[in-house]
Symmetry: C2
Subunit: 191 residues, 2 copies
């Protein structure tokens, strides 16, 4: 073999795409835009991805995996539930804040014609650990014993909206604001 594909380039392409989608929406970006933003030639995109569809699907999958992996960083099941939950909640919040563009990208994708059913299905499976977490809270009788899907809906819904609001309002997310938001969330869940 001779010259190998460059993993860094994939990262460049992904970053450029995510950035542009957050700014202009999925409908507003072209392969030309992406290549320009990534600092490579348009043709090079096709060395790494067969088509725009494939690029978007691959990026979607990568973003999903990223965000799940980050969530459980530092989670220790032996510590009290509320502490662990808080840790994960903060992990997600921090990640989404620092990667706002990724969050927007994922949202945009959900209703786009780019994402295939298979990609969507895979994304769903990734949520399993969060269901487990809710179940633990319920077993310890700290969390309301209602459908865990509903609980997660609440946790993620507030998180996403908080990120969005923070970004658009320009109100910085101070430590005390974060604590307040967490308290709202916890009060909703707690048994």
């Amino acid at each position: 073999m001779v010259k190998l594909k460059d993993d860094k380039k994939v990262t460049q392409i992904f970053q450029a795409t995510v950035k542009l989608v957050a700014r202009k929406g999925l409908s507003g970006i072209t392969m030309g835009d992406i290549s320009k933003e990534a600092g490579i030639a348009t043709g090079t995109l096709y060395v790494y991805f067969k088509s725009k569809d494939e690029l978007i699907n691959a990026l979607f999958a990568a973003c999903r995996e990223n965000s799940v992996q980050v969530s459980f960083k530092g989670y220790q099941p032996n510590r009290p539930f509320k502490l662990g939950f808080r840790q994960i909640w903060l992990n997600i919040l921090r990640y989404k804040l620092q990667n706002f563009e990724e969050t927007v990208f994922l949202e945009q994708c959900y209703h786009s014609p780019f994402i295939t059913a298979a990609t969507r299905e895979k994304a769903l499976q990734l949520a399993a650990p969060f269901y487990e977490l809710m179940k633990r809270g319920q077993q310890e009788q700290l969390v309301k014993s209602v459908d865990s899907g509903l609980l997660l809906t609440f946790v993620m819904g507030t998180m996403n909206e908080l990120i969005r609001q923070t970004h658009y309002s320009g109100i910085p997310l101070s430590r005390s604001r974060i604590n307040t938001a967490f308290d709202l969330c916890w009060d909703a869940l707690k048994a």
Copy 2:
């Protein structure tokens, strides 16, 4: 004057657009698709809207106004706060459920290049009554005295996510599930 523009046609165009966007995303629709779905000729679209941009902006504004108007239907300020809040919460929920496509459309728009700053600004102003509502709850000491923007973030975030989840999971939103969801929400807000 002779032949007048038909208000019904605007409705047709809007309905078609909303339907298609919910199915294929903003990026997946063309003027051709819209005209076909609306049952009119492509050229006719340009009788009603100067461009695709203008169409999307007009539709966005219309959707926003719709959803706000519906929210306060039947709200009586003299009745107890929680009842009123519940009424509004249910109004929004019902409306969003029945008009899921509109919800998706609005979401997609927020990060699209179609929506102009002016359109966005107008949307923000429409939220004023909701801020008033939160303030009332706080004055009566029924609601936590934290930034009302944060409270609304919570209320709307959970609502949107609930709608989304309901639609995709296929789990029907039974009366008891609705009550549970409301309780989660109220527990978060209550002082």
